[in-house]
């Protein structure tokens, strides 16, 4: 009877002690990891680097807070702050994914517009090339400019294919801009050559 009472008291103390120990918020840790991975997969680290970094920093802080509590005596652990931080990781990651999608859409619109501009400019270049001084007077120059148009056309084909294949839009954006500038420069050059040739014939 006495022994039984003693066992009961000891067991009760043990149960209360164990029950009052806070648990590691593993579900929150896992959710934060998944969210960060999803953001990275979406390309947030490249498209919205600052937002992505905020999520990564929050993850680091959250995990450090978990370890800070783990270092304490079991009875004194409290993971509430860590949980809050880890939850914010998911929020920040989701926000980064949303921003990435918006940035990609904006870039896609920019590239599509640039492709249209490039197509028009190349067509204009070709028209001007047809009007450029021909025969022995300008054959070499016309050939050289024709080759330059060919190079810009290659870029146009690559970027258009990239848009269809959903290639990295950031790379396509960087690629198409110099090509548009080049096509415009050819346009100016040809306009100049044609004007010069006309000017020469007047006298």
């Amino acid at each position: 009877m006495k022994k039984g009472l003693l066992k009961l008291v000891t067991l009760s103390i043990l149960v209360v002690t164990l029950a009052s120990c806070a648990k590691v918020p593993q579900a929150d840790i896992d959710a934060a990891n998944v969210a960060i991975e999803a953001a990275k997969k979406a390309g947030a680290d490249r498209y919205v680097a600052a937002s992505f970094q905020a999520a990564v920093d929050a993850q680091k802080s959250g995990l450090a807070q978990v370890e800070e509590q783990n270092a304490k005596f079991a009875l004194f652990r409290n993971y509430d702050a860590a949980k809050t931080t880890l939850t914010s990781v998911t929020t920040l990651s989701n926000k980064a994914v949303e921003e990435t999608t918006a940035r990609k859409e904006a870039l896609k619109a920019e590239v599509t517009a640039a492709v249209a501009e490039l197509t028009t400019t190349i067509a204009g270049d070709k028209e001007l090339l047809a009007k450029a001084p021909k025969g022995k007077e300008g054959k070499a120059a016309v050939e050289a400019i024709g080759q330059e148009i060919g190079v810009v056309e290659t870029v146009l084909t690559e970027v258009s294919a990239g848009l269809t294949n959903n290639d990295d839009i950031l790379t396509l954006s960087e690629k198409v801009k110099p090509a548009v500038e080049k096509a415009k420069a050819i346009n100016t050059e040809l306009t100049d050559v044609i004007a010069k040739a006309k000017g020469g014939k007047k006298k």
């Binding site: 920093d57 450090a64 370890e67 270092a71 801009k177 080049k182 020469g200």
Partner: protein, 371 residues
């Protein structure tokens, strides 16, 4: 009896609990504490470092900070898995302090490196752009292979892509594209350099001709024209001083000396004007005939024939003039020097029969030209 036993038992439990509590408190007081402040500080410093792109501009320090942080965290977890009185965070402390140090170094170095790299990148791209711009005229006119022109154009586009990437802060991509561009341009460069190097072997002779022509203009107090093929310019001198310069056009095979009749090349040498033709006499608005071939041309032509460089049936050609109808922006003559009509009017009024006209490949050395 029973009450005494309970009392005794409770007394022992109490003593035992008190002793345990004292031991626990002592252990808790003296147990090793994790360096959480350092961990938080490290996260803070690394965030600041990352914000100023230390991972790009001081990658070695930043990577080292990341690695030290990673191992410090692993060590922290390892110690936390042990019983509290067995924990020893000294290793984790050492690693996290090291991580802070590296992150601080990355932060400090990033600013300096960013400025240095930016300045270097901008200087490099500016030089490359200048070179490409100065090459543009040559490339249009030089007899190059199609692939060479393509390399040159793709190279130019890569340089511009690189600038775009740099402006967006993607330094790695910017450097990659810049190297791609440089590599393609260098192929074209090699061919151009080869062509120009051979051509410029005659530079000492040209230099001598130009000096003599300018001296003659000074000593005879007259106008003299120096034509620079590479620059596509005619430099008019008066009394030995540069008076005016004009854009000029040549035959389509302008690189190199004239070898024979019909080669569409413009001759190089020291000449004089032998005849002036007005609008009625010239098919090219106005013209000034040169004494091509001169004695040196005739002697070189004979030597080339003897050596078999030129077939015996070829003639040396003639009727080389400075005439109008130019300003087309292309090299189109059969070997003459063409100017726009308003410019030939100007030149026609300054030069007279007997005026010296010297035609050279270049008035500046190749090394200066390629700078």
């Amino acid at each position: 009896m029973r009450f005494g036993f309970i009392k005794k038992t409770l007394f022992y439990i109490g003593i035992l609990s008190l002793a345990s509590l004292i031991i626990l408190v002592l252990l808790l007081l003296f147990m090793d504490k994790p360096p959480m402040e350092d961990f938080n500080k490290c996260i803070e410093v690394m965030t600041k470092a990352k914000k100023i792109n230390a991972d790009v501009y001081a990658p070695e320090y930043y990577q080292s900070a990341e690695t030290n942080y990673k191992y410090a965290f692993i060590e922290l977890r390892r110690q936390n898995e042990k019983l509290f009185f067995q924990r020893n965070f000294s290793k984790a402390k050492e690693l996290i302090v090291n991580a802070i140090l590296k992150a601080e170094l990355a932060r400090n170095a990033s600013g300096t490196n960013k400025d240095t790299q930016k300045a270097r990148f901008l200087k490099e791209t500016e030089l490359l752009r200048k070179k490409l711009d100065s090459y543009h005229e040559f490339f249009i006119k030089l007899p190059l292979r199609t692939q060479t022109r393509k390399d040159y154009e793709f190279g130019k586009l890569s340089v511009e892509e690189s600038v775009n990437a740099f402006e967006k802060g993607d330094i790695m991509k910017a450097n990659k594209k810049l190297n791609e561009g440089k590599s393609r341009i260098s192929y074209a460069d090699a061919e151009v350099n080869q062509l120009l190097k051979e051509y410029f072997s005659r530079f000492p002779k040209w230099q001598h001709w130009v000096e003599n022509t300018i001296s003659a203009s000074a000593s005879n107090k007259c106008y003299a024209l120096v034509v620079d093929k590479i620059k596509h310019k005619g430099f008019l001198y008066l009394n030995g001083k540069l008076y005016k310069e004009y854009d000029v056009e040549f035959g389509k095979n302008w690189i190199g000396d004239k070898l024979y009749a019909g080669d569409n090349a413009t001759p190089e040498g020291r000449y004089i004007i032998t005849r002036k033709k007005g609008t009625r006499d010239s098919g090219y608005y106005k013209a000034m005939m040169l004494n091509y071939p001169n004695a040196e041309d005739l002697s070189e032509f004979a030597a080339r024939k003897r050596s078999g460089q030129i077939s015996r049936s070829r003639g040396i050609g003639g009727l080389i003039e400075i005439h109008g109808n130019g300003g087309k922006g292309v090299d189109w003559t059969k070997g003459c020097v063409a100017l726009s009509d308003d410019k030939i009017d100007e030149l026609y009024s300054k030069l007279s029969v007997g005026s010296p006209v010297t035609i050279v490949g270049s008035t500046v050395a190749l090394s200066d030209l390629l700078k």
